[in-house]
Every structure is written in C-alpha cells, then in structure tokens.
C-alpha cells in the first residue's frame, strides 16, 4: 500500500520554523560575549564537560540522512538492516577516542587536526586535510539544507527553495556571532529535543501499526535473508562499506576533531562512550520505522525510500506527533549544519590564514573576521548548491575516498617518528588514483588486475582491523589482529571482492595509502621526528591565554 503525507498549512510551518530558529537564536544570547576571541570561536574554552561535549558529538554525528538511511536499510535488508547502519556508525565514534587522546596530548592547544599535521609535516599534508574538509563540510551543508527543503515541501505548501533558505539563514543567524560556543550550546538543546521526540515516536508508531503481534505476523511475508539477524547481503552491501566509510569520516573530519580539541581532556573517553550509545540508540531506533514499514507492506512514495519515515509518521500518528517529527528532523540537520559552519570557519582561520597566510603571526581580530565571513560564504554556497539540486555523487565519493586514503598516514604520523611529509603526500595521491580506477570502473576487473586490487583490499581490511585493535590494545596486538585480518581477507577477497566495487575501492584506498606510506617512510634517510616540537608550534591565538 502507498501512504500519503500529512499537510501543514503554510502559516503553521512558518510558525514552527520561526519558533525553532528564533528560540535557538535567543538561547545563544545567554552565552554571547561582545568581544569573542579567536580561540573560543574555534574550540570554546577547551574544557567543555561531558554533558555538552557528548550531546554535541552525538548531534553532529546524526544528520537528517542518518535516520532516513537507517530506515532505508531496515526496509531493504529487514531485521538486521538498522543495525548495519547504526551500529557501525556508533562504533566509529568509540574507536576514534584513543586517537583523539593522542592528538590532544601532542597538541593541547590545537584548533584543527590540520595544525597538528602542519607542525608534523608542513603545508602540503596540512592542505590535503584542509581541502578534504572544505569539500566534505560544504557537501554536508548542502545535504542538510536539501533535507530541510524536501521536508518543508512534502509536509506543507511551501516550496523546496523556501525550506532551503529558511534553514540556511536560521543556522547562520545563531552560529555567526559566537561560532563553536554557540554550536555546542545549541547542540545540547537540539539533541535533548531530538532524543525526547525519538523516545516517544518509535513506540507510538509500533503500537499504532498494530503492535508487536502485527509486526511478527508481517515478518512471515519477508524473505529468509530479511528475517535473519545475520544476513550476508546486508553485511556486504550495507554494513561493510559503511563500516569502512565511517572510520575514514571519523578520522579525517574537522567537525569531530574540533570536539576532540574542545572537550576537557580528562573527559574525552566518557564523552565518546556516551556519544556512541546516544548515536546508536537514536539511529537504530529510527531505522526500525523502515523495518515496521516493510512488515506492514508499505510502498515508499515515488519509489523513494527517503519518503518512508514521513509517510509512516503522517499516516499513523496525530498531527501533533507529525509536528514533533518535523522538529526532530530540523534539529538533526541544524545541529550538523552549524558544526559544518564552525569546521569551515576554523579551517579558514587556523589552517589557511593562521598557518599559510599570516605564517604563525596572525592578527586575532582579522582571524575572527575571516571566520565569520567564511560562515556567510559557506551558507550562501550551501543554499545555492541545494537550491539547484546539483548532483554531488561524484564529489561525495571523492571526499569519502580522500578521507579513507588519509586514515593511515594521519594515524601513523602521530605515533611513528619515521613518517615523512613526502610519504604522507604521495601515499594519499597514489591511493586516490588507484581508488578512482576501481570506483569509476576505469579498469576491467578481471584476471590479474582483479587479483592485484583484491590483494590491496585485503591489506586495507588488515589496516582497519589492525588500527582498531591498536587503538585499544597497543601496537603488538594491533599487528597480530591486522595480520590475522589480512590473511582472512585475502582468503575471502580473492576471486570474490571484484563484484563489490564500492567496498573494493574503499579498501584499496586504505591499503594502498598504507603500503606507500610505510615503504617510503622506511626507505627515508631523514632524521627521526621529535614529537615534543608539535606543542611548541601549535599555540593559542588568544593574547590573554
């Protein structure tokens, strides 16, 4: 059966948006300072407590696409689908914190990961990170504004463009003056709203659709794979590619590292554990709506599975609950969009202006001005891109690959004193080239070529598992897990992985960058790096600090 959307009047939607963005703006007045300083604009006071930091991490990690995609996964793959979206995304938050503790130890006054990498290697490596983040955060802004436009368009007579512009201007208005401080403070309020609504909506939908008995009856109409908690298809098509993609996202993304540098150092672990649980619970929970829709035999409108949650909410819940759902989506997309604005402004302030234009003698007032101008420009670009509904798939794939390619070089650079700037730069460049050959199918994946790339992908799997084990268990056990994972991956990948292009390409980026970085570092005759120099080079921009 195909369900329709509930329709709010134009006045109701405008009132809800005005209440949301107006209320958020008024909240930021509570923390506003007439004279903000550059450090606070980028990383607040660097001693944010568990509550604000974990809510900000969770709110940033959850964007509108998170629960639409989790629901799609539930609808497509059945009972294991929501887990294969939400669980891996959640675990990646957990796996990043040991590396975050290392970043923080090396550069306690840093504002961006790029500053640390600049102190370690110089400009070219730093700019690779900066470029990947500018592209990534711009795409994220556009996707979130697009989600706002789409939501407004399906639930009210207002146009898509109106929704895009209101969201863009609303987010900019409350983030512009206080930057990261405003983002963290409002993330808390937005996350509380988001979680409270999710807690109510999920059981409400389950019981409105006939309760657990109707769900269990509906399960019998699913395929055996969809009924299984251990679906191989769900793992290979959804879980595994997402698992590797989010690891790359977690390490390379400035929105994450900005929070690592902002939270009180002694609370990094507890903050990330709380965010892991919060993200997993919300995203998997909302993904269950897709599974419920599947068992109820609901068809997504126009074949677009992104319509599933709005359709189900519109049909089975009261108008008040639909309004709450509307606020849930607006909260999630706004909290991610404000983080993207802050990430972009910090990159332009610290990485571009601070390190490459002012050459470590920046004027803090000019720096702050650059940050605010960046926010305005980024919002304008996000609105324009979203309004024209540009096809960003290629750009999205490219950024994902870039972040995959930098995972090993970044982590190796902060633990291993042999890694050189050339090894970092070339490893990322070569990995990107080979990724493109696989992902865009520029080479026929047959015969020897396929075996070579499958071997690279086995190295990639070994690197991911090895790094995760290394994060918690140290270098020796990390190596053991990596080697075992590599042997297992080689056994399974050869003759098989060539049929899974997305996964093969992602793992190739991980594997090749590791091989090139390791070989070039081992062959280098450059003196070993002294990690103590990083703290001397990465300094505060606040004259009073």
């Amino acid at each position: 059966m195909e369900l329709d959307f509930y329709q709010f009047s134009t006045a109701t939607v405008l009132l809800m948006l005005a209440a949301f963005y107006g209320g958020t703006y008024l909240l930021t007045l509570m923390i506003r300072k007439k004279n903000e300083n550059a450090d606070a604009y980028m990383v607040a006071n660097q001693r944010i407590g568990i509550g604000l930091a974990s809510s900000s991490m969770t709110a940033t990690w959850i964007w509108a696409a998170s629960f639409y995609a989790a629901a799609t996964s539930g609808y497509t793959y059945g009972v294991s689908g929501p887990l294969h979206y939400g669980l891996w995304g959640a675990l990646m938050i957990l796996f990043i914190y040991p590396f975050g503790q290392r970043f923080r130890k090396l550069a306690p006054k840093a504002h961006t990961l790029g500053e640390l990498i600049h102190a370690r290697h110089g400009s070219s490596s730093q700019l690779i990170l900066a470029v990947s983040n500018v592209l990534g955060s711009t795409i994220s802004l556009m996707v979130n504004f697009t989600a706002a436009g789409a939501l407004v368009a399906v639930l009210s007579p207002l146009s898509f463009q109106a929704g895009v512009i209101i969201a863009g201007v609303g987010v900019l208005a409350y983030t512009f003056w206080s930057g990261f401080r405003a983002a963290v403070f409002t993330d808390f309020i937005q996350l509380v709203a988001l979680m409270a609504i999710a807690v109510v909506i999920i059981p409400a939908i389950l019981f409105a659709m006939g309760g657990p008995s109707a769900f269990v009856t509906g399960l019998s109409s699913l395929t055996l794979e969809q009924q299984s908690f251990f679906s191989k298809t769900a793992f290979l098509e959804q879980g595994a590619p997402f698992f590797f993609a989010v690891l790359a996202y977690a390490v390379g993304n400035q929105t994450i590292s900005q929070r690592l540098f902002a939270v009180d150092e002694k609370h990094i672990k507890s903050t990330f554990i709380t965010a892991t649980l919060g993200y997993g619970a919300i995203v998997i929970g909302l993904g269950m709506i897709g599974l419920l829709a599947l068992t109820a035999g609901i068809e997504p409108m126009n074949g677009d599975t992104n319509n599933l949650i709005p359709q189900v909410v519109s049909t089975y819940l009261s108008p008040i609950m639909v309004a709450l759902f509307f606020l849930l989506v607006i909260s999630s997309l706004s909290s991610t969009a404000d983080s993207d604005l802050c990430a972009l402004s910090a990159i332009m302030m610290a990485d571009v202006y601070g390190k490459n234009i002012a050459k470590d003698k920046p004027d803090p007032t000019r720096m702050l001005f650059i940050g605010r101008i960046t926010m305005v420009a980024a919002t304008a670009i996000g609105i324009v891109f979203a309004s024209f509904s540009l096809d960003i798939l290629v750009m999205l794939v490219f950024v994902g690959a870039l972040w995959g390619a930098i995972v090993f070089p970044v982590i190796a650079s902060v633990f291993w004193d042999k890694v050189t700037n050339a090894a970092f730069t070339w490893s990322v460049t070569v990995a990107m080239l080979l990724f493109c050959l696989v992902r865009f199918e520029l080479l026929p994946m047959v015969g020897l070529i396929a075996y070579v790339f499958e071997a690279f992908s086995a190295v990639g799997a070994a690197v991911v598992i090895g790094l995760m084990a290394f994060a918690f268990l140290g270098v020796r056990l990390g190596a053991v897990f990596g080697v075992l994972a590599g042997i297992a991956a080689l056994y399974f990948n050869l003759g098989f992985m060539r049929d899974y292009t997305v996964l093969l390409a992602s793992l190739t980026a991980f594997g090749v960058s590791t091989l090139v970085c390791t070989v070039m570092s081992l062959m280098s005759k450059a003196p070993r790096f002294d990690f103590g120099t990083i703290n001397e080079e990465v300094q505060s921009y606040d004259p009073s600090a």
């Binding site: 509550g51 974990s54 969770t58 963290v184 769900f215 269990v216 619970a281």
Partner: protein, 45 residues
Amino acid sequence: MNTKTALYSLYILMWPALSLGVLLYILRSVVRDAREAKKQNKGIV
C-alpha cells in the same frame, strides 16, 4: 504474548529505552557542569 513476539518487541523498544537513559545521563551531566562553572564564576562553554 509468546516468546518470539516478546523478543521482537524488546528488539524494537530497547533503542528508545536506551535513548532515554542516555538523555537522562546527559541532562544530569550538564546540570553538574553548569553548577561547577557557576562556582568558578566561568561560563559553561
């Protein structure tokens, strides 16, 4: 309600329950942080 139905209910409803737990923990932590910041006469962010 048979066992299968109960287990599937648990599978679906455990996530909002966990969300509620995390939400309460975050609220409690923020209240503590706010009190601490007030004691030290500093802002929470």
